[in-house]
């Protein structure tokens, strides 16, 4: 087991390195010039060169990449003299747009994206699994049909549509909730939740539908497994069979899905954040793109890749616990 984890961690590190290399190459080869963007409007040639040198963009690509990778572990000092900025471990570069180290920016925005992702995830797991398991246990009844049609429909609604309707109905017409505006959990948990309720709902609706469909399928499959049938034949109460046997095996594929989805969302739901004006990583990323802030773009890409890789790893490890059939 430990060996397996070690091997997986090593592979994950390799994947991240590869992603960093690809991202790096693409963004630095494409025709955009962060130095020109920083220099702004009337930018003389010598000033542009000075800024380029200051940002380290005058060095060969491979050298910039090595600097970047070693910088993650050892930290880096950018610029010189009085204005030198030290960016310490884990240094993902320095955003000249925001005058802040990329890592600090990311950790600053993370709570928003995490609040959004985790809250929505809790909501969609609850809704999705409830609907899916109910439908599976009442297979081919009217309830089953209704739930599944509802799920397909909900999954087909564009998120901007749901969001606008939610804001219109709940905020503008009835005034039940305020216009979403992020409040940190530590500051006021009640406000945190009430402000996030709409974005959670909008995001969760989409995923809940997918999860309902998925969990219904795997639940039906699990309930047909020989050992579940055996347990039932032994005369165990239906509740015990469903929870202890059915759910446990049936949820394995759902778990995989969940790992991927949550991993992808943790580093920012670009559209949802932008629809609700939440200052999360997704918006940071979008803003960085529009201002040509490449260190941030690279940082967010790496962060979200890291989340996906870690989530996959976590899921694989959880398999061992959740599904009695999986052994390493």
């Amino acid at each position: 087991m430990i060996l397996y984890i070690g091997r997986r961690l090593l592979a994950a590190a390799g994947v991240l390195l590869a992603i960093a290399a690809v991202t790096f190459t693409i963004f630095y080869v494409l025709p955009s010039d962060p130095a020109a963007a920083a220099c702004g409007k009337s930018c003389s040639t010598e000033r542009l060169e000075a800024i380029r040198a200051h940002m380290g963009l005058d060095r060969p690509l491979w050298q910039q990449f090595t600097d970047f990778v070693t910088g993650i572990f050892t930290g880096r000092t950018l610029g010189s003299g009085r204005y030198a900025v030290h960016c310490s471990f884990p240094c993902l570069g320095y955003s000249y747009e925001n005058s802040e180290a990329v890592w600090d920016l990311l950790t600053d925005r993370m709570p928003v994206s995490a609040s959004l992702a985790l809250g929505a995830a809790a909501l969609w797991l609850l809704l999705g699994l409830a609907a899916g398991v109910t439908a599976a246990l009442r297979k081919d009844t009217l309830t089953d049909r209704a739930l599944m049609v509802g799920a397909v429909a909900a999954a087909s609604l564009p998120v901007y549509f749901t969001s606008m309707m939610l804001i219109h109905g709940v905020v503008r017409l009835t005034g039940l909730l305020p216009y979403p505006q992020y409040v940190p959990f530590g500051e006021d948990p009640a406000h945190w939740a009430s402000n996030l309720l709409l974005p959670w709902t909008a995001l969760a609706l989409l995923y809940a539908a997918m999860y309902a469909r998925q969990s219904r399928g795997s639940m039906i499959e699990a309930m047909a497994e020989p050992y579940v049938r055996t347990a039932r034949a032994k005369g165990l109460p239906r509740r015990t069979v469903v929870v202890k046997h059915g759910l446990r095996t049936g949820m394995t594929p759902v778990l995989t899905l969940f790992g991927m989805d949550l991993g992808g969302l943790l580093a920012g739901a670009v559209i949802t954040e932008s629809l609700f004006g939440l200052p999360g990583v997704g918006r940071l990323f979008y803003g960085a793109l529009t201002t040509g802030d490449q260190p941030v773009v690279l940082g967010v890409t790496l962060l979200s890749a890291a989340f996906i890789v870690v989530a996959n790893l976590a899921v694989d490890l959880l398999y061992a616990v959740a599904d009695p059939r999986v052994r390493y």
């Binding site: 994947v15 025709p31 087909s156 549509f161 594929p253 899905l257 992808g264 670009v270 793109l289």
Partner: protein, 312 residues
């Protein structure tokens, strides 16, 4: 919907018989008929877009100043977003462009991108999956690593980034390529699993012993075996592709103006959702219906063609 086939390891290789059975099974379902009708309708609409817009008398790019009120921020003149005999679905606020003409031309762009990207995904995914499953060993290891790598990419973020930096290229082509780039591992995994289970079937072994080359075995024996799950999986891929095109256009990195696409139309109309609700509702509804129809169709196909798979 999902029929639970107890066969634990392998589904029977579909032959001519099962295909006919499948068709009969599909024909029985009302949801299939309806969704097929919707899909065909939109496909026809997309194909006949120039004809349809000629019929309504407006090209998708043509402004109609008389249909909007410049003093009210370009609101359409008349009720329901300016619906009239002249403009069947009303007009776009500000420009007065005909909504029907834009809708049908938008269908063309959106569906073209979605279907082309799906085709890329399916071809690349099937090829990679079969190669990995059939040849095994190093090929498998290499391809599987590549799949892991691609799947670990934060795809939406990456797509947005690439679309926003690239200039001077055909946007439709680029968008198709970028969307297709990240989809293939899903298909490849399904195909690889299927190929692995087919690889040592008697009829494949027989072909091998009979002296058939790998190409012949792959095309004659393995490919038909994986076709069922691939078709089901493909249909379920389309809605995702349409949604991705819409998302990219929504974020302003999609097609170039004045080309319409559903995503672009929705993106522009969000700002008018309360002042001109119909403008927002029309493309949203079309997107919704198409995604819904493809999903229902895919579900049915999966049930029939690939009864075993939990998720595609």
């Amino acid at each position: 919907m999902t029929t639970t086939a107890p066969t634990p390891a392998a589904a029977a290789a579909p032959a001519a018989g099962p295909w006919r059975l499948a068709r009969a099974e599909l024909r029985r379902r009302a949801s299939v008929k309806i969704s097929l009708a919707v899909v065909v309708l939109f496909l026809l609409m997309a194909a006949a877009a120039p004809l349809l817009s000629a019929l309504c008398g407006w090209s998708p790019e043509e402004f109609d100043k008389s249909a909007v009120d410049p003093y009210l921020g370009g609101q359409p003149v008349g009720p329901f977003g300016g619906i009239s005999a002249e403009h069947w679905l009303g007009v776009e606020p500000v420009t007065g462009r005909d909504l029907f003409a834009r809708l049908v031309h938008g269908a063309r762009v959106s569906l073209l991108i979605a279907l082309a990207a799906t085709a890329i995904v399916v071809v690349a995914g099937t090829a990679a999956g079969i190669a990995a499953g059939y040849f095994g060993g190093r090929t498998d290891a290499l391809l599987s690593r590549l799949m892991d790598l691609t799947m670990s990419f934060p795809s939406l973020i990456f797509m947005i980034a690439m679309m926003s930096v690239a200039r001077d290229v055909n946007r439709i082509l680029l968008m198709t390529a970028v969307i297709g780039l990240f989809g293939w591992p899903g298909v490849a995994r399904v195909v690889r699993g299927q190929t692995l289970s087919l690889k040592h079937r008697e009829y494949v072994d027989a072909a091998r012993v009979g002296g058939s080359g790998p190409w012949r075995i792959l095309t004659r024996a393995v490919l038909p075996g994986v076709a069922g799950p691939v078709i089901a999986c493909t249909t379920l891929l389309v809605p995702g592709m349409i949604a991705t095109e819409a998302a990219l256009s929504y974020l302003g990195v999609g097609v170039r103006p004045p080309t319409p696409s559903w995503g672009q139309m929705i993106a522009e109309s969000v700002a008018f959702y309360d002042t001109d609700p119909l403008y927002f509702a029309v493309p949203s509804t079309c997107l919704f219906l198409t995604v819904l129809a493809f999903t229902l169709l895919g579900d049915a196909l999966r049930d029939v063609l690939d009864p075993r798979s939990g998720r595609a």
